[in-house]
């Protein structure tokens, strides 16, 4: 069974998987230092958007979460958040490619749903250049950024094994 390659700051690679986020887990996130303004539990039970969590195989600690919607010709990411201990500026940061894997999973699902790998999202304002440089994301109108087929496949090949 293929899995995602989660990279520890020490350079070690851990096998990781994506699963649907459950209500009790979503409610508990805020107690573990996740962003207060965003309530992941609001996505539970929605038909349009489904939230997912990133786990290391054999471990229940949530490393990051993503919620996305399946549109006519692409997948749209509604919210993407890494666990507080995986923030790039956290002094004891654990894993360095959480966002890459969460974004990669949405790209993978885009291919599975016959959307040709197209994925769109609205980045936090200061991260526009980060997405452009790291993922070759392109800028659309209305603050939108997107990954096309080639960028999506590249990301999958990089971290899916």
């Amino acid at each position: 069974m293929p899995h995602w390659k989660l990279k520890h700051k020490s350079g070690e690679i851990y096998p990781a998987k994506i699963e649907v986020l459950k209500l009790n887990e979503a409610k508990a996130l805020k107690d573990h230092g996740w962003e207060q303004p965003f309530d992941w539990s609001l996505y539970i039970g929605l038909q349009s958007t489904t939230p997912y969590k990133l786990l290391i195989v054999g471990n229940n600690i949530i490393q990051g979460a993503v919620a996305y919607q399946i549109k006519d010709d692409h997948l749209f990411i509604d919210l993407l958040e890494s666990a507080p201990f995986n923030r790039y500026n956290h002094p004891q940061r654990e894993f360095v490619n959480v966002a890459d894997i969460l974004l990669g999973e949405v790209c993978l699902q885009s291919f599975f749903h016959n959307k040709d790998g197209f994925v769109s999202f609205i980045p936090k304002s200061k991260l526009y250049s980060y997405y452009a440089e790291r993922f070759n994301a392109k800028l659309g109108g209305r603050g939108l950024m997107y990954l096309d087929s080639v960028a999506a496949l590249r990301l999958i090949k990089l971290y899916y094994e």
Binding site: L42, S82, G140, S149
Partner: protein, 93 residues
């Protein structure tokens, strides 16, 4: 009144507007700064349709640039690459 509201709304920077919108979507009305763990934010309420149209336009742009036949060939090739990659991993589509 309506004019006043429009004026007030216009006075917010795009960044502020997006921040307020994302908070509204998730039911939050506070003023706390969003931390660095959040990397993508929800869209403005009511803007989903226009974002969908924007993506449609973008994909149409690809077709226009490459031509219908070349674009289809390109997409077919990428999808085939994806399928062979998944087959190597033991996943049958």
């Amino acid at each position: 009144m309506e004019r006043q509201l429009k004026k007030t709304f216009r006075s917010l920077s795009p960044k502020k507007k997006r921040l307020n919108a994302s908070r509204t979507t998730s039911g939050f009305r506070g003023t706390k700064k969003i931390s660095d763990s959040v990397m993508m934010i929800p869209p403005l309420p009511g803007s989903e349709r226009s974002l969908e149209l924007e993506m449609k336009k973008i994909r149409e742009g690809y077709v226009r640039d490459l031509g219908v036949s070349d674009y289809e060939k390109h997409i077919l090739k990428v999808n085939q690459d994806f399928k062979s990659f998944m087959a190597e991993k033991g996943v049958r589509l």
